[in-house]
């Protein structure tokens, strides 16, 4: 499966996700700089990595969401290409409007950096098919602005449509209804604050994150 990792000035998890994708797919991802206007053809996944794109200026992910390459990512997502945004990538996806809601400053104001239990809410998506519904997994988070917000009608709608992929098993940031990861309506776009790419082998203390990529590979390839 061909994959691409979008790299913004200030991204800092681009290498982590590239290593995870190469380990699972066996193919080095294309690293695509933010100023590009076109993406490689035939991609099975576009990943938006964690970090602090454009220094978190204005709002986290706001400037990246208006960069040339992200216009191409939005077009690809609308054509059905799988897109995964992790941490800052999730913030970028909400800023583009591909995903509902917004990510605000953590409720406790602290930067939270630790392993957190997540519950798999929807195991039917291309991103979560290797998990069991209701399964608890352990994935690290590292963020300052991960407090998921959407108005109650939107929350009811995404819950009703099965679009909550993951929920926190502990209150780490004040997110509405403990939402840690959200799918778009078509199910080909996932945004999540936790970092599955940081937990893909025994040396990381576990490989709960690896199955996300393995499941995706099986679902897409």
């Amino acid at each position: 499966m061909k994959t691409a990792v979008i790299v913004f000035p200030g991204s800092n998890c681009d290498r982590d996700i590239a290593v995870a994708l190469e380990q699972v797919t066996g193919v080095k991802p294309a690293m695509v700089w933010h100023g590009e206007t076109e993406l490689p053809q035939g991609l099975g996944l576009i990943a938006l990595p964690g970090g602090f794109s454009y220094g978190d200026y204005l709002r986290c992910g706001a400037i990246a969401a208006r960069s040339p390459v992200v216009r191409a990512v939005v077009e690809a997502a609308e054509r059905g290409v799988p897109v995964l945004g992790i941490c800052n990538g999730f913030q970028v996806l909400t800023e583009t409007g591909l995903l509902p809601g917004a990510l605000m400053r953590n409720e406790g104001l602290d930067f939270v950096c630790r392993d957190v239990p997540l519950t798999v809410d929807n195991s039917q998506s291309i991103f979560t098919s290797a998990y069991q519904a209701g399964e608890e997994i352990l994935i690290p988070v590292a963020h300052h602005d991960g407090n998921y917000f959407a108005d109650p009608e939107t929350l009811d709608r995404i819950e009703g449509e099965g679009r909550v992929a993951f929920r926190y098993g502990a209150n780490v940031n004040g997110s509405a209804r403990s939402i840690a990861g959200v799918l778009n309506k078509a199910g080909n776009v996932l945004g999540m604050m936790p970092h599955p790419e940081r937990r893909i082998e025994a040396a990381h203390g576990g490989d709960d994150g690896r199955r996300l990529f393995e499941g995706l590979l099986e679902a897409v390839a």
């Binding site: 909400t94 917004a102 409720e107 406790g108 104001l109 407090n147 917000f149 959407a150 108005d151 004040g174």
Partner: protein
Amino acid sequence: MKLRIVVTLKNGVLDPQGKAIQHALAGLGFDGVDDVRAGKIFELDVAEGTSDDAIDQMCRKLLANTVIENYRVERA
């Protein structure tokens, strides 16, 4: 033409930064501060004749995230 664009959080959106500022004011001995909401101000110098619609689009497309924020435009 000088513009001042004020972006504030919508009612009902929790503002942890505002809360922290409120607590800091209380810590300095200022009593009776019931609420603090933090926001942003942008000062723009735009060409004369820039349409209201263009200004509104600037706010909607970039300066404010209308999921969580309101904006208002003040003309100097």
